[in-house]
Symmetry: C2
Subunit: 252 residues, 2 copies
Amino acid sequence: MTYPSLLGTERMSYAPTLLPTRHVPLDSEWSTLSEVVQLLQYEGHCSAEMHEPVFRRRRIRAGQSLFLMGQEFGGLYLVRHGCMKTVITHAEGTEHVIAFSMQGDILGAEGACQHHYWCESLALKDCEVIRLPIDEYFSHGRASDGVERMLYWAISREVCRRQAAYAIAHAAKSEVRVARFLIEQSEHHAALGYSASQFTLPMTRRDIGSYLSITLETVSRALSSLNQLQIIEVANRDILIHSLEELQAYEG
Amino acid sequence: MTYPSLLGTERMSYAPTLLPTRHVPLDSEWSTLSEVVQLLQYEGHCSAEMHEPVFRRRRIRAGQSLFLMGQEFGGLYLVRHGCMKTVITHAEGTEHVIAFSMQGDILGAEGACQHHYWCESLALKDCEVIRLPIDEYFSHGRASDGVERMLYWAISREVCRRQAAYAIAHAAKSEVRVARFLIEQSEHHAALGYSASQFTLPMTRRDIGSYLSITLETVSRALSSLNQLQIIEVANRDILIHSLEELQAYEG
DNA sequence: CGGAGAATTGATATGTCTCAACACTTGTGG
DNA sequence: CCACAAGTGTTGAGACATATCAATTCTCCG
């Protein structure tokens, strides 16, 4: 039911990291605005320095949390490598997956209007994320160099993502939900330049089920069913989509 | 199945309306930044003029659309009076309600990172909305007077709302979904200074069902069930919550 | 190799959908 | 003002999909 590897969740301090200070920790690395713009696929303009290493990176090992529910807001995070899942834990202890994030995705957007994160983001595989200190931009009232606008643009993109996820999870039948989930994954991979027809899922059937509001057994059966229909080929977490058209047209 | 009153959907032109031009239409009215800040319950700072009438209002009669799916983005809208619903229409023609919005809520947030609205927002009752021309702020590269930041803050709040809606619609049992929906409505009313325990729903059972991914019959049965349990009292769209605690604790 | 979690598959239980009938509400026009 | 129509809401019976419980195999990792 629970993930034992989560027990080792580490916290971090949120010292200002907008610019490298005199004492740069040996294990830290920094990203440039240029890299951030590229990862976000942002097409707007930034007048700030593009090639200075000003955005701190952070590694998260599989199973570890980036931030916890209720934790003080410490900025957005941009996924550089790896795969994360974001969950809400209800009072009764039940976990609910609300998003899977990969390269170029934003984490923590729901904390930007609050002072706390509303959910927990944790790594499915070893990850590297870039901290985007929107909280510092916000509180320091910095000059308008286009960076803040880019960060808010990224947040508004998150609204679209959540909306799309909502639509996927609301399809009538479980097999259709699973089909649309696979399409979402496929498109996400394609957008990053990877194969749209062949990929390995980083999450368990239970996670997929939680995301789609169905049980893990139903996810498994749906995948087997789509497999038998020759629309996809499933081997554990390896997915091969034989016909994206059939998958998109699939309505049960 | 469909709403006949929607047929009369009117379109409007999106001429720049940031400042009143020489030809102010007789039927138009304008809101001040002060009013917008108050409606949004925004606590940040704006250095712009607070009491100039710069934000155009627009009336929408019950059943009419504010914007349609795929329509070119023309800014955010802030609800001043009335009640709206936002729907996605799928290729097959099925409608899916993704949000109900009332006073102080933002519409069109998903269009801010695109050039088009992704969904349709239409009035459940006669409404008045205020246009927030974030598109013009964005394209004109305006000075940093705090207004743009406020608009993006409003968008980030939308991420939280969508997330909350997601959690509500993902509860295991239909009665729990309906219970949580009522709690959401109650809290929304309370936040606006209205009664948390007594209110009239502006939407049909079908709309509620679409929002919660259940059928209208199931919504009706759930309400009847909660009524019989003495937790609430239902008479058509009039809701009286006898015990908010029991409603929150209700798990089937 | 052994153990724990992950995944598949089956049998049964249960909740929701579907189809249907009926009562209530609202708005319109004679 | 009433009759009527169309939409809204409630309730019931049966069909169907998914959840639940259970057994087995697979996979990964120490």
